[in-house]
Amino acid sequence: MSFPLLTATAVLPALGAIATAAVPAARRAAAKWLALIVSLATLVLAAVVVVRFDPGGDRYQLTESHAWIKDFGVRYELGVDGIAVAMIALTALLIPFIILAGWHDADPVETGSKRWRPTQGYFALILAVEAMVIISFEATDVFLFYIFFEAMLIPMYFLIGGFGDRAHGSYRSAATAARGEEAASTQRSYAAVKFLLYNLVGGLIMLAAVIGLYVVAGNFSLTQIAEARANGTLDMATNTERWLFLGFFFAFAVKAPLWPLHTWLPNAMQESTAPVAVLITAVVDKVGTFAMLRFCLQLFPEASTWATPAILVLALISIIYGALLAVGQRDIKRLVAYASISHFGFIVLGIFAMTSQGQSGATLYMVNHGISTAALMLVAGFLISRRGSRLIADYGGVQKVAPVLAGTFLIGGLATLSLPGLAPFVSEFLVLVGTFARYPVVGIIATFGIVLAALYTLVLYQRTMTGPVKAEVEGMADLRVRELVVVAPLIVLLIFLGVYPKPVTDIVNPAVKQTLSDVEKKDPQPEVEAAK
């Protein structure tokens, strides 16, 4: 038996999480280093996955299959296609930056009980999320996927509810700072509960659909079911298929998040630390869009086609509504959250446009959005940690005091608005082209999202970084070495993938073609050709 590479990629961070959690209370620094080293080792394993993956080869590679729960028809089945490889690489890439950026986020303020170890908990939870996200990208068994799709909510929940920005809310007077901390803690637990309930309800509805799928198909193997669907041995009644599709899609739409199920995201991102916010939007939420591609389209091709018009409308609303609300935000992190909702709208649009450009664009978008949001949000986090406020109005003229910080913030922002030359441009362009080929009107409306994106990012930059230096901003330190180490590679990647996206598209494209052939869609021919 060959080395179980995929299992190892997921188990390593899981073991790392346990080890990190077990570090004694006094050895906080050791826990941080341990978590960082584990995340880097995971990155190495993910790189091996990328190298070993052959884009021209079988659809699912590096497969592993073991009996697990026979009574439920569940097998421990792993396998990656190009899309999954890209997502695993993104996840493994971002986690070290998330850990490094959050180096001091969880230093204990006051020592309560001797056993209270927030630092160990924080980094252990991040690694636990990484493990679960990776395994849900790898799972080709619906049940296995579902288990980790749900289970990852728990560590996420503790990350959101347990850790927040330090000393935020300085619009309150210093005298009420203590009360402010309590209010912040209340808001945090509200955000955490909202996150959990939204996703849990989505997940439970999906559970009903998962059970329904089992009753119809008799097993949970994605490959088997998809094959049986393709060659006609498994015939689902139209209505059954539609209900099951809706059950799955609902859970993914909550996770993604798609309007109108998005309202947990701004709360969650606003209240959590910047690295955790990145973890939510750049890593965890990607499982939702990824699962739409992998499960909705493959298992329920006809229902997917049936639901496409409605989903496109929801995606459009997400794009425009998210962008409009981003323009109106006064809180930096909320702004990024709404921008993300807008971007997820683009991803869903690309997936359900059912063209190869659209879907490659959507996959590429997932990667690029992860990197660009990480860059923007982490720099925003550095900024917030200096001033102790998330409010845009509390800043001004930062670029004169901290030019490097302002510059990196600008690049992150420009990436968010898809400036040509930076990575997100390629993916957004592909999505729009792909959409336009099939649904011109939808494509045109979606384009307005880009205009709005320019508005909210540039206004954000203008208000915080330019203008006269505010009194509280004076003397603000520029990026430290640790922070530079976080930001610089992300920016390099943004530029590299903006100029040369081929490495990613090469991996992704064959998988996209496969998925499209599942839904029996061919790219629409250009009209001139069709006329001949």
């Binding site: 729960i69 637990s189 509805i205 559970l207």
Partner: protein, 549 residues
């Protein structure tokens, strides 16, 4: 007429005396129950003859050894093939020895052992007059607040009677799911109920509440028993027998002969329907299904917490076992009559338990309503009427009982000056003060909520799958919705523990003896193992899923 003539008339009318014979008792196959009941009687003798000083140790030792021996006997029977390849109806048709019976008996015995551990805990309550005390009243008979109570406390009395009582209850519970005729069912019901009523009344603290709980439990329980008994009488009138197999054959119409004395009533469907409904009602009362759940919150709250944990776990196992056997062995012919009713009961139980639980502010009441919701989930599996349904219920019961005992054991640890701090507000910030206890409790809550990788999820998935395959898709949808509602209040407790600031006057977490630690540790271990690798136990449950008829 002369005396001898009367005598001869009498002797000719009666059966010859030698035909009755001594009953045939298969001691080997009944050994689990016999061991436990025997030990319980021995325990009463220990109460009478062993000096007070050593009584506690003697009782704990006796109980654990007896339960372990009974468990070994169950294993031996199962290894002898009784669960899978053969089965027997023993004790002249009164008791069935088959897969479900042995599986449930094993579960009840394990729950009983963990129950003894929590009963025997003596480190949590502060010592009274230099004597270590447990959760039970110094002298149950003394009036609360009276001088005699004070004297009893000062003298260092403890109610070691709880151990024989527990053994009696376990003995009854062992018979209950194995009972193969209605009278045995009723007697088993009483044998395990009466000790439980008593156990509920003997709390050391909040004694009035405890006694009130016991009275409520007793009155409502007596009502339910009366219903059951009346139903049994009606079923006898219908079938001319209390034997499960015979009733089932009469229901199917395969038995033609009519007992002359019952010629007027036999085969009367009204008797069958009313009788069956009343017996099932009595069982649903024990299970705690809506609308027969009213006793649950008060009793769970008032009873000493170790008793609550034991009762919540073991009673549910026993009662569901009996319900399964009744519905699958006696009344499968009536399936189309009882299924719609049970659908309705399952739906209101799931929703009712979950919705009312949201408003609870006491952790024990919260767990009580949660247990009602879980009864609804289990009923979803009962309704399936497939072999998968039986095995899923068996699995769920096994998983659930360990979570329950563990969770209530954690509740005993969180204390303030007034004993256990069961009001939810007092649990605020527990995660800061004692992360380990809070984390363990969080694991139990997540299992209750059915989060993947815990036993709760595997169990819930099993019953929902069985229900869906049995054609009860609507039940699954309702189940999923009530799971979402239920998740809300489990999570609220987690929020409270981890994300709220600890209160300065908040409770302390007592460090328990290895006994309670074992109970909690086993609970956590089983919860996680059944969550991650449930296959072995699912196999066990599905092998054990066939009733003897």
């Amino acid at each position: 007429m002369s005396a001898s003539a009367v005598h001869s008339l009498w002797t000719t009318a009666a059966e010859p005396i030698d035909k009755i014979g001594a009953p045939d008792i298969e001691y080997g196959q009944l050994s689990p129950t016999l061991i436990v009941i025997g030990a319980a009687i021995l325990g009463v003798l220990v109460e009478a003859f062993v000096p007070r000083r050593t009584r506690y140790h003697a009782q704990v030792f006796l109980s654990v050894v007896a339960l372990a021996a009974a468990f070994a006997a169950v294993i031996a029977l199962a290894a002898g093939g009784y669960a899978t390849t053969k089965s027997g109806i023993v004790a002249m048709g009164a008791v069935a020895v088959d897969g479900p019976a042995l599986f449930l008996q094993g579960t009840i015995l394990l729950a009983g052992i963990l129950g003894v551990f929590t009963f025997a805990e003596r480190r949590l309550d502060p010592a009274a007059h230099g004597n270590r005390v447990d959760s039970f009243a110094a002298q149950a008979a003394s009036v609360p607040g009276s001088d005699s109570e004070k004297a009893a406390v000062k003298a260092g009395f403890t109610t070691t009677e709880v151990f024989p009582l527990l053994l009696f209850a376990v003995g009854g519970m062992l018979i209950f799911p194995a009972a193969n005729d209605l009278l045995t069912l009723f007697i088993a019901l009483e044998v395990f109920s009466l000790p439980l009523y008593l156990l509920c009344a003997v709390a050391r603290r909040k004694r009035l509440m405890s006694q009130e709980a016991a009275v409520k439990y007793f009155l409502l329980g007596a009502f339910a028993s009366a219903f059951t008994l009346f139903g049994i009488a009606l079923l006898y009138g219908y079938a001319g027998s209390v034997r499960y197999g015979t009733i089932a054959r009469v229901v199917d119409g395969t038995v033609g002969e009519v007992t002359p004395a019952l010629a007027g009533t036999m085969g009367n469907d009204a008797l069958l329907l009313i009788g069956a409904a009343m017996v099932v009602m009595g069982l649903l009362f024990k299970v705690g299904a809506v609308p027969f759940h009213m006793w649950t919150p008060d009793v769970y709250q008032g009873a000493p917490t170790p008793v609550t944990g034991f009762m919540a776990a073991a009673t549910k196992v026993a009662a569901f076992g009996a319900l399964l056997r009744l519905l699958y062995v006696v009344l499968p012919g009536l399936r189309w009559d009882w299924r719609p009713v049970m659908w309705a009961v399952a739906i209101v139980t799931m929703l009712g338990g979950a919705i009312v639980a949201i408003t609870q502010t006491d952790i024990k009441r919260l767990l009580a309503y949660s247990s009602i919701a879980h009864a609804g989930f289990i009923l979803a599996g009962v309704i399936a009427t497939t072999p998968d349904g039986v095995s899923s219920v068996l699995f769920y019961l096994g998983a659930y009982s360990f979570v329950t005992i563990g969770a209530f054991a954690v509740v005993t640890l969180v204390r303030d000056a007034g004993g256990e701090a069961t009001h939810l507000s007092k649990w605020a910030g527990l995660g800061r003060r004692s992360p380990l206890v809070a984390a363990v409790f969080a694991v139990f809550l997540l299992a209750f909520a059915g989060i993947p990788l815990t036993s709760g999820f595997a169990g819930k998935f099993a019953v929902f799958k069985a229900a869906a395959e049995g054609g009860a898709g609507a039940i699954v949808v309702v189940g999923v919705i009530s799971s979402a509602i239920a998740a809300f209040f489990y999570i609220r407790v987690i929020v409270l523990m981890f994300f709220s600031e600890p209160r300065p006057e908040g409770p302390t977490v007592a460090v328990p003896s290895p006994l309670t630690m074992t109970a909690i540790g086993v609970g956590v271990a089983v919860t996680l193992v059944l969550g991650v690798a449930p296959q072995y136990f699912l196999d066990l449950a599905s092998q054990a899923g066939v009733f003897v008829r």
